[in-house]
């Protein structure tokens, strides 16, 4: 009697969901609390900085909007990559995976540029409460994106060595879940930090 008790999720499960999917959702729920705490810190300290520069002095909303759109687009390409793989089109899946990774890198690059601009405008990590909470929050998010890019590039590597066929669609789906989560968190960050106006302290 062959009983496979290994780490694949092809065993019957009590809920019918594969273990990996359940695990990813639970992990993402946990990650929500992480960003919740960071965003709460930012919101709590809104208007509390003793010295400038203040948000209105440095934010370039049009620029960050473009950057946000880039990240949003990458979620679309992620979906397309998964769909391509699921219908067996490995070649297309590679294209869309690459596109997702490139869009992600563009986003991160855009953030790096944005932060260097802020630094030139005298807003560094330790300048004031705004800088402290802003850089740590967006830094955490950026790190999450970077890890996602690493995962995408790894998937690409597997794909090129012939090991990412349609039977591995689930793995791509998991990376996709993570990627979409990171995108949604950015939407919240962009709205709460950039879009909601905050008057500078008198």
């Amino acid at each position: 009697m062959e009983i496979h008790a290994q780490e694949s999720e092809h065993l019957a499960t009590s809920t019918g969901l594969p273990n990996i999917k359940l695990a990813m959702w639970l992990f993402l729920a946990s990650d929500c609390m992480l960003f919740g705490a960071l965003i709460s810190t930012y919101v709590l300290y809104r208007g509390a900085s003793v010295v400038g520069p203040y948000p209105n002095d440095v934010f370039d909303i049009p620029y960050t909007s473009v950057s946000s759109f880039v990240l949003l687009a990458s979620s679309l390409t992620m979906v397309l990559a998964l769909a391509a793989l699921q219908r067996g089109d490995v070649g297309r899946s590679r294209v869309w995976l690459l596109a997702t990774a490139l869009l992600g890198m563009t986003f991160v690059g855009g953030q790096v540029y944005e932060f260097t601009t802020f630094a030139h405008e005298e807003l560094t990590l330790t300048t004031n409460l705004f800088s402290t909470s802003f850089y740590v929050l967006t830094g955490f998010h950026g790190t999450h994106v970077a890890i996602g890019i690493l995962m995408l590039l790894t998937l690409l590597m597997f794909s090129f060595s012939g090991r990412l066929g349609p039977e591995k669609a689930e793995t791509v789906e998991m990376v996709g879940l993570y990627w979409h989560f990171v995108d949604i968190v950015w939407i919240v960050i962009f709205t709460v930090i950039y879009l909601i106006p905050t008057g500078n302290p008198a």
Partner: protein, 622 residues
């Protein structure tokens, strides 16, 4: 334990995937949940001895007024490390030991959902603990209290609190990853027929604990990150001069910290809920109520955190809200006591050592719970907070509660894990000495607190009239130490006995007792099919027409399954792996780098990346 044969693998890259599941080195590569459970248990117990020694030093210093056995600086490190050790490096991993070993066995699974991730959690925990302790030699141990309130914790010039913030992030990663793993295991890998309401209470408590961990740990991770950034990079999260608010830390800490105390107590409550029915020979009274109250505690536990902050000045409205929510949570907590009493009622009670610890748990937890209710009387809490009255409360629930429950579990499952019993007579001595010593140590602290002794004081003057009870308390602490030594003697002596334990020495009720003691690597010969709660009991006993409980005739399905003839069955278990250890090793290296040298951070990233890539690339044992 029979070795499971795995076909030799083509080596991929530098490291051939290991195959041995026995022998010394197998402990470093094991992904077997049972071995990992044992590793957690041994490590946690070692930290228990260390944390206990720290407590003895504290009690030595406080035995008489105005002493200077420990200087103020060392004393502050001592109580800080005692708290950190007992909470994060003893009770949590000891509970993890039980969860790791027992969850698959009790739900009829062969392993957890992600065996290598499981190993990773253990190694990350071990390295995190060692990292924190290395601070003694590298610039001073943490000295800001286990609760680390800024600004005191952020402005302290020694490196201790930096080690604190990074070390607890590492152990937090270990626990979060483990929480996801075990939650998925419970939700998704139950044996056929084991619906949620046929799960043992211990499993339910385990599920609630994993969810509490998953949702509360990220909050303190952020708090610790913010503290680390303030200390290392000069940010202003908790810096009042820049407009920062030290109270933000308190919110973040206690939003984790309160669910944390339920994380600490629910496993022991689960253990006691398993032990009582076995030795009273009747089922847990009100299984559903006990389960629902555990779930309720999990939810409400997120709504009481500011009862640790009543004196902070949040205002009467906030204090009222949290006072009321604290009173509310007393209900599901207290209700369980009645259920346990109902289990004893009209039972046929055998006072084995596990049973003694479980009854002791109830007795001590009632005291701790009642003093907790008095804290909820907010104006009175203005007097109680930050005094030894609080110290008394939490030791009654965490030592008299959690530790007693865990010791009960150790005595109860020892034969299953190690194939021998712990000595009963020595066990009883262990229990009574511990009970007396414990009450002698912490009972007087109620009085000391109300009579004016604050917490975290290196000494107290003779004139305050606190000397007598402090002396009694210190003597009690040494009695506890003796009782722990007796336990160690008992443990060592048990290994001198031959390893010939039956599957079900206690005549128990749950699935782990259907397989051999110890279980084979694959847990069960055949995955059990479950028809009811207390499945094993119902296989052994049935009820006659007249309502009498009688054994099922011999030859029924009560025989133990599993054993030597399994080797040829072809049950393939996940193979061992180096990579979880390697990946975990990168964490402390990177952490040292964050404190001392940026190159080390890069160096730490190498094993992290190598570990994870090796992990995903290595062939599975097929």
């Amino acid at each position: 334990m029979a070795s499971v044969s795995v076909r030799a693998e083509r080596p991929r890259g530098l490291l051939r995937r290991p195959t041995a599941t026995t022998g010394f080195w197998s402990w470093f590569t094991t992904v077997d949940h049972k071995k990992i459970g044992i590793l957690y248990g041994i490590t946690a117990f070692a930290f228990f001895i260390i944390g206990g020694s720290e407590a003895l030093l504290i009690r030595l210093q406080l035995a008489r007024p105005d002493q200077d056995i420990l200087s103020a600086s060392v004393y502050n490190e001592m109580f800080t490390m005692h708290g950190i050790t007992m909470v994060f490096l003893v009770v949590m991993p000891l509970s993890a030991a039980f969860f790791n070993y027992l969850i698959p066995l009790m739900i009829g699974a062969r392993d957890v959902a992600f065996p290598r991730l499981n190993a990773y959690s253990y190694w990350a925990f071990l390295f995190g603990g060692l990292f924190i302790y290395s601070s003694w030699f590298l610039g001073g141990a943490p000295n800001g209290g286990w609760f680390g309130y800024p600004p005191n914790a952020t402005v302290d010039p020694s490196l201790g609190m930096t080690f604190y913030s990074l070390g607890l992030i590492i152990t937090g990663i270990a626990s979060t990853v483990s929480a996801v793993n075990l939650a998925v295991t419970v939700i998704n890998m139950r044996a056929p027929g084991m619906t949620l309401f046929r799960m043992p209470v211990f499993i339910w408590m385990g599920l609630v604990v994993q969810l509490l961990l998953a949702f509360s740990l990220p909050i303190i991770t952020i708090g610790l990150t913010e503290m680390f950034f303030d200390r290392r990079f000069g940010t202003h999260f908790f810096d009042p001069a820049a407009g920062g608010d030290p109270v933000l830390w308190q919110h973040l800490f206690w939003l984790f910290g309160h669910p944390e105390v339920y994380i600490l107590i629910l496993p022991a409550m689960g253990i006691v809920s398993e032990i009582l029915p076995v030795f009273a020979r009747k089922p847990l009274f009100g299984y559903q109520f006990v389960v629902f109250s555990g779930i309720a505690i999990g939810f409400i536990g997120f709504g009481v955190w500011a009862h640790h902050m009543f004196a902070v000045g949040l205002g009467p409205v906030a204090n009222t809200a949290f006072g009321i929510s604290t009173l509310i949570i007393a209900v599901p907590t207290g209700v369980k006591i009645f259920n346990w009493l109902g289990t004893l009622w009209r039972g046929d009670i055998r006072f084995t050592t596990p049973m003694l610890f479980s009854v002791g748990f109830i007795a001590m937890f009632v005291i701790g719970g009642l003093s907790g209710v008095t804290h909820a009387v907010v104006p009175s809490d203005y007097q109680q907070t930050d005094t030894y009255y609080i110290v008394a409360h939490f030791h009654y629930v965490l030592f008299g509660g959690a530790i007693f429950g865990l010791f009960g579990g150790i005595y109860y499952w020892w034969p299953k894990v190690f194939g021998r019993m712990l000595g009963e007579r020595v066990g009883k001595l262990n229990f009574w000495l511990m009970l007396i010593g414990f009450n002698m140590t912490f009972g007087p602290m109620h009085i000391l607190g109300l009579q004016g002794m604050p917490r975290r004081v290196q000494s107290y003057p003779e004139s305050l009239g606190l000397s007598f009870w402090n002396l009694v308390s210190s003597i009690g602490a040494f009695l506890i130490a003796v009782s722990v030594l007796i336990f160690l003697v008992n443990a060592v002596a048990s290994f001198r006995k031959p390893k010939e334990m039956e599957a079900d020495p206690w005549d128990a009720r749950t699935l782990e007792w259907t397989t051999t003691s110890p279980p084979p690597e694959y847990n069960f010969d055949e995955v059990p099919v479950v028809h009811s709660l207390d499945e094993l009991w119902h296989r052994k006993y049935s009820q006659t027409q007249g309502g009498r409980v009688v054994p099922v005739p011999a030859g029924g399905s009560g025989e133990a399954h599993g054993g030597g003839h399994a080797g040829g069955h072809g049950i393939h278990m996940p193979g061992p792996s180096y990579f979880p250890l390697i990946a975990a090793l990168g964490l402390p290296i990177a952490a040292y780098g964050l404190i001392f040298n940026w190159w080390l951070v890069g160096a730490g990233m190498v094993p992290v990346l190598a570990g994870f890539y090796g992990w995903i690339l290595e062939p599975s044992a097929e």
